[in-house]
């Protein structure tokens, strides 16, 4: 699929800020099944020292500072993204979950490099602390000897079925325990929850941030800015690789999913971080468009 991607982040401050340093993780990664071109980053007011690097996880990070007195900050990224089918399940992904967990806790000397690298994602991270309740919840899907990929898909669907999407129920700071109790949350919470469940089972799981193409209600035209940033999960199947799942929609990500980056949890892939002097309170507006490039008409919508 071909997409025109546009992601706008706007912060309005209640007072003037004199200096700010920022880090943005909003440039899509290059992947075997995803290419990006014509990527543009527009920052206003003018940014100083804009530079791009790759972080520990290989994500693209843009650093910039704003040194003029400013009352708002706007960051717009636009890019042409083309996605292809992700690698399909095959013989090598048919690992029993116990074997996968054993691989993750094997003595280091005998592990293979991909497995050793994946072990970071079994550990606790700032937003995801393993706890018995998570293991208890997950256990129903992990019958002895079951294939990891089957258990994973079932757990993914269970979360989708048993939890309610509710934007008002949680904040960034809502602990996993609470999400589990109230069975409500947003994509971030569900991703963290699934990661926590997998890690509690001794498996490696990482947080993926990105976008998903959404369709307008039947018969209506798609509204600009109606899309949103999204988050899902990838679990490590030793000997095969990372399998993505989306607990918010209970499905397996396909070509409609655009990957920005990944990390241990949200903290590693926060889209826009900043520290400023002054500024007071601030108000955030985000607008995302993931527009499929089908015909000339939809091209015209993008200015």
């Amino acid at each position: 699929m071909k997409y025109k991607l546009r992601h706008l982040t706007h912060y309005q401050y209640s007072g003037p800020a004199t200096l700010s340093h920022n880090e943005a993780r909003i440039l899509p990664r290059q992947l075997p099944w995803q290419t990006c071109s014509n990527t543009q980053l527009i920052i206003s007011p003018d940014a100083i020292g804009l530079s791009e690097r790759q972080d520990f996880f290989g994500n693209r990070v843009a650093y910039f500072a704003i040194e003029a007195v400013h009352n708002s900050l706007e960051v717009v990224v636009s890019s042409d993204v083309e996605t292809f089918p992700r690698p399909a399940q095959d013989f090598f992904s048919g690992t029993a979950w116990e074997d996968a967990a054993a691989e993750m806790s094997r003595a280091v000397r005998t592990g293979n490099r991909d497995s050793i690298a994946a072990r970071l994602f079994v550990l606790d991270s700032p937003f995801v602390m393993r706890q018995p309740a998570l293991r208890e919840y997950a256990l129903a899907s992990f019958a002895p000897g079951r294939l990891l990929r089957d258990a994973l898909l079932e757990l993914n669907v269970r979360i989708f079925n048993e939890f309610t999407y509710d934007e008002d129920s949680t904040t960034l700071a809502t602990p996993l325990q609470e999400v589990l109790e109230h069975k409500r949350g947003v994509c971030q919470d569900f991703a963290h929850l699934l990661i926590g469940c997998l890690r509690a089972m001794g498996l490696a799981a990482r947080y993926v941030s990105g976008y998903m193409e959404t369709s307008p209600p039947p018969g209506q035209e798609k509204l600009l800015g109606a899309d949103a940033t999204h988050a899902w999960v990838a679990a490590f199947i030793p000997g095969w690789g990372w399998q993505e799942v989306d607990p918010t929609n209970g499905c397996v990500p396909d070509e409609r999913y655009i990957v920005l980056g990944w990390g241990r949890d949200f903290a590693d892939v926060t889209p826009l971080k900043g520290v400023m002097t002054g500024g007071g309170e601030h108000k955030l507006t985000v607008a995302v468009d993931v527009l499929p490039v089908i015909d000339v008409a939809s091209e015209r919508l993008l200015i």
Binding site: G49, A65, L172, T270, L272, V275
Partner: protein, 863 residues
């Protein structure tokens, strides 16, 4: 009961109960004879005699105390004072022992440098299974943001390194810990050496001890070469968390010794990708930062967002090569206690050598086999949790519930724990001044290494290190932290022959000699100097006033309440009760056979000013003064600092003093100490901007104090007249001058002449305005080229002209003419107003007002 094995009775007395230890003994060989390398020192000590040694030991102690050497962060808080005792008996290391130790320490530094480079680069040690990922990635010192794709500029990460070692029961050296962020103690080691060589000059002059100063020169060269050829006069700063931090004394000491500006987080800012210090002359670019702050707190953008000490954007500046941070951010991961278990293998793999200095026996609990072993024998181990550094768990010293919770933690997060075998240490001798004998001690030694300056641009596998031939030793259980120790020691590394004496202090300066005009003074330092001046002067004025008031208290008849000066003095000190309070308090005091209630009230209110609780009491004013002095410790001479220490001791004693006479004496002493302090500042501080701000602070305070006092004594007092005027003259120390000049009875016009108009009298307002004018005119200015005068100058001109334009005749008859009094009142008010405004104006133009920074996204998560 123990045969001392020595025939010299004096030596036998000195050794007392020391001999007879069955394990390793530093001092005595197994046949209980002093080892050869201790003999010269023992001979000196015996010759000197125990009593002399006690006296010298006390001398050393008071030297340390006067210099304020302490780890105590709450030095200005009276109840918390705690400092070290410096043992006058050093740890002596023989030439042969040193050769091995030095080689082992150098190897260790090389090994850790290579390991660090790999951990933040290729991470082969993880890929190859030499280090488990769980061990590395869970350590709070492993910074993911420092581990991005390697930059093109190669630079060394590990520059300085500190290692704690101890000799075990078998005489083997064992490493207890590595310090790789900002190893503390070099400054203390030197200070101890300087102190002891002053207290025991004979011993230190003659012994063939390796000198320490060369190592600091080497450190200086390292830092200078890091800045490299980038700029002609590289700016190297020492970054401290501030006066509240336990190591602040050392930070200030090092900054002074190495001639680096001492900066705090608020002094630094990242602009245009460069790190800069906010100075009086604007932003001043920084090339190298010698940091004394732990990794996670250094940059609230990329590291802990809740850090108030850090500098946003610092990591990016370091990443792009615009600034060098020493040691590099992320080096803290090498302080992981479980590395000890992996270093022998790593040494083979990375260096191809056998590890010379073994760590203490340790197991990493993340290893399943190790975990089984530990769970089976929990009471044989000391456990450490890397997320709670400094804390140790010993099952045999814990309650049941605590053990249970520890077992659970160990079960669910084993990779956070390291188990160490308790260590049986050998004994070292220490001199106990109370028993006047040598006693057995357990001593930990900290050694320091620095990369050779010439190797800085070489690849990391070619780095070599230099070890400081000496270090810092402290007494305590093996593994007990330095900060908790009560006794510290010097370390002597013996050389083959006497070493040429290198002057420890100024000669040891590194190659960079920057002539400072003072414009590079951080704004924060200027501000602290200014307030130190103001509070110091305020302390002086109030001490003098209170001294006079206590004097009056003794002179006056305790029965008469009405014709006394006391109410006016209470007003001058700002503690006069208002009418309502007066009635209540007098009623509460009630009748007393010998004293009138008014007298008792005044006495109570005056003595109250000597207590800690009084909001404008002397101890409180002093604590403001000392807080500002501590923040500029590196700008004050040692002698000036000694007078601060002396005032502190007096202030600690002050609140316990309850008598009027004793109070008076203390106040006398404080006045003299303060005079000494400011005198020494004038004598020793370069007369640059820093000193000017100090002086401006003092004189603003003094001019305001004098004007208020004149207003009270001549215009608003209940009981104006000669006794009160005497107080004015005494408070301003002008009694003698007055008498010599006027040889007459006190007269208001003469007082005005002396204290207001006479520009040659340093206590007159006229003189003070002139001095302030001169100082303010020489402050850095942004409008040098224009004839426009800034607000500070205008305010002084305004006050000076007001004073100059007075018609003195109109003030002639103050005692009888209401007009004259009105004119004087207007005059004093017209002088007070611009002077009060001057303080704000100076502050506004020159001091930085850093707003707290905020996070765009707040993430309240556990760290």
């Amino acid at each position: 009961m123990q045969p001392s094995g020595t025939k010299d009775p004096a030596l036998r007395d000195l050794l007392g109960d020391y001999p007879g230890h069955s394990g390793h003994d530093e001092l005595l060989s197994p046949n209980q004879q002093p080892r050869a390398h201790w003999q010269p020192l023992l001979a000196e000590i015996v010759a000197m005699g125990a009593d002399t040694l006690v006296a010298r030991s006390e001398e050393a102690q008071s030297l340390l105390h006067e210099n304020g050497v302490t780890f105590n962060p709450y030095e200005d808080d009276p109840g918390q004072l705690r400092s070290w005792r410096l043992d006058c008996m050093p740890c002596v290391i023989s030439d042969a022992d040193w050769s091995y130790l030095e080689a082992g320490l150098r190897q260790r530094s090389r090994l850790l440098a290579l390991l660090l480079d790999d951990l933040y680069g290729q991470r082969q040690v993880i890929d190859e299974g030499l280090l488990p990922p769980e061990l590395v990635y869970t350590h709070p010192g492993f910074l993911f943001s420092a581990a991005d794709v390697p930059s093109l500029v190669h630079r060394p990460l590990l520059i300085f390194h500190g290692t704690d070692v101890i000799r075990d029961e078998h005489g083997q050296w064992q490493v207890l810990a590595d310090w790789t962020q900002s190893p503390a103690g070099v400054g203390y080691a030197l200070e101890n050496r300087i102190t002891l060589s002053r207290a025991l000059p004979g011993v230190y002059r003659d012994a063939p001890i390796k000198r320490l100063a060369g190592f600091l020169q080497a450190q200086h060269r390292c830092l200078a070469s890091l800045a490299g050829s980038q700029r002609q006069e590289p700016n190297i700063v020492l970054w401290t968390p501030g006066p509240g931090s336990p190591g602040y004394f050392e930070h200030a000491w090092l900054a002074n010794y190495m001639n680096f500006p001492l900066v705090e987080g608020d002094d630094l800012v990242v602009r245009d990708g460069q790190v800069a210090v906010r100075t009086l002359g604007g932003l001043h670019q920084v090339d190298v930062i010698m940091r004394q702050i732990n990794d996670p707190w250094c940059d609230p953008l990329e590291l802990r967002p809740d850090s108030l000490l850090g500098v946003p954007g610092l990591m990016q500046a370091a990443r792009s090569g615009h600034v060098h941070i020493v040691n590099a951010l992320g080096a803290g991961v090498l302080e992981h206690p479980a590395l000890a278990a992996f270093l022998p293998n790593l040494c083979q793999r990375l260096l191809g050598e056998t590890l010379m200095l073994r760590g203490r026996d340790a197991l990493w609990c993340g290893d399943l086999q190790a975990l089984e072993q530990i769970r089976g024998s929990m009471d044989e181990w000391v456990l450490r949790d890397i997320t709670r550094p400094g804390k140790t768990f010993r099952v045999d010293q814990m309650g049941l519930a605590a053990v249970q919770s520890l077992r659970l933690d160990l079960q669910s997060r084993p990779h956070l724990f390291t188990a160490q075998k308790p260590l049986q240490a050998g004994v070292t001798p220490g001199f106990n001044p109370a028993s006047k004998t040598v006693e057995r001690q357990t001593t930990t030694l900290r050694f320091f290494s620095a990369i050779e300056a010439d190797d800085i641009n070489k690849p990391v596998n070619e780095h070599s290190f230099r070890i400081m031939p000496g270090g810092l030793a402290w007494v305590g259980e093996p593994g007990a932290p330095l900060m908790k120790s009560r006794v510290v020691k010097d370390i002597w590394v013996l050389a083959q022959a006497p070493q040429p004496h290198v002057s420890m202090l100024r000669q040891a300066q590194g190659p960079i000699l920057v002539t400072r005009d003072g414009k590079d003074l951080p704004c924060r330092v200027a501000e602290s100097l200014f307030w130190m001046g103001r509070y110091g002067e305020r302390l002086d004025i109030r001490a003098r006033l209170l001294r006079e008031a206590l004097g009056r208290l003794l002179q006056e008849s305790p029965q008469e309440a009405v014709v006394t000066l006391l109410p006016d003095l209470l007003t001058a000190l700002g503690v006069a009760p208002d009418e309502e309070e007066l009635a209540d308090e007098l009623a509460a005091i009630g009748e007393h056979p010998r004293f009138s209630p008014e007298y008792l009230l005044a006495r109570d209110r005056l003595l109250n000013l000597l207590t800690d609780q009084a909001p404008d009491g002397l101890p409180m004013t002093f604590s403001h003064f000392v807080r500002n002095s501590r923040a500029v410790r590196d700008h004050l001479g040692d002698d000036a600092w000694r007078s601060v220490s002396s005032i502190r001791q007096r202030c600690n004693a002050i609140s316990r003093t309850k008598g009027v006479v004793a109070g008076q004496r203390l106040l006398e002493a404080i006045v003299i100490d303060l005079a000494a302090f400011f005198g020494l500042c004038n004598e020793t501080m370069p007369h640059h901007y820093g000193w000017r701000f100090l002086d401006i602070g003092r004189f603003i305070e003094r001019v305001l104090g004098t004007l208020q006092l004149l207003k009270l004594a001549l215009l608003t007092a209940n009981q104006p007249g000669i006794p009160l005027w005497e107080v004015v003259l005494a408070t301003t120390d002008n009694f003698t001058v007055y008498r010599r000049r006027y040889r007459s009875q006190l007269h208001p016009s003469a007082i005005l002449d002396l204290l207001l108009f006479d520009e040659s009298n340093p206590r007159s307002v006229g003189y003070m305005l002139k001095r302030l004018g001169r100082q303010v005119a020489r402050l850095p200015s942004t409008s040098e080229n224009t004839s426009y005068r800034n607000l500070e100058n205008r305010l002084i001109i305004q006050a000076t002209s007001t004073l100059h334009l007075v018609d003195i005749d109109s003030l002639a008859d103050l005692q009888h003419s209401e007009d004259a009094r009105d004119i004087l009142m207007a005059l004093l008010d017209d002088l007070i107003e611009p002077m009060a405004e001057l303080s704000d104006a100076v502050s506004h133009s020159h001091f930085s007002h850093v707003e707290a920074s905020r996070q765009l996204v707040t993430m309240d998560v556990a760290h």
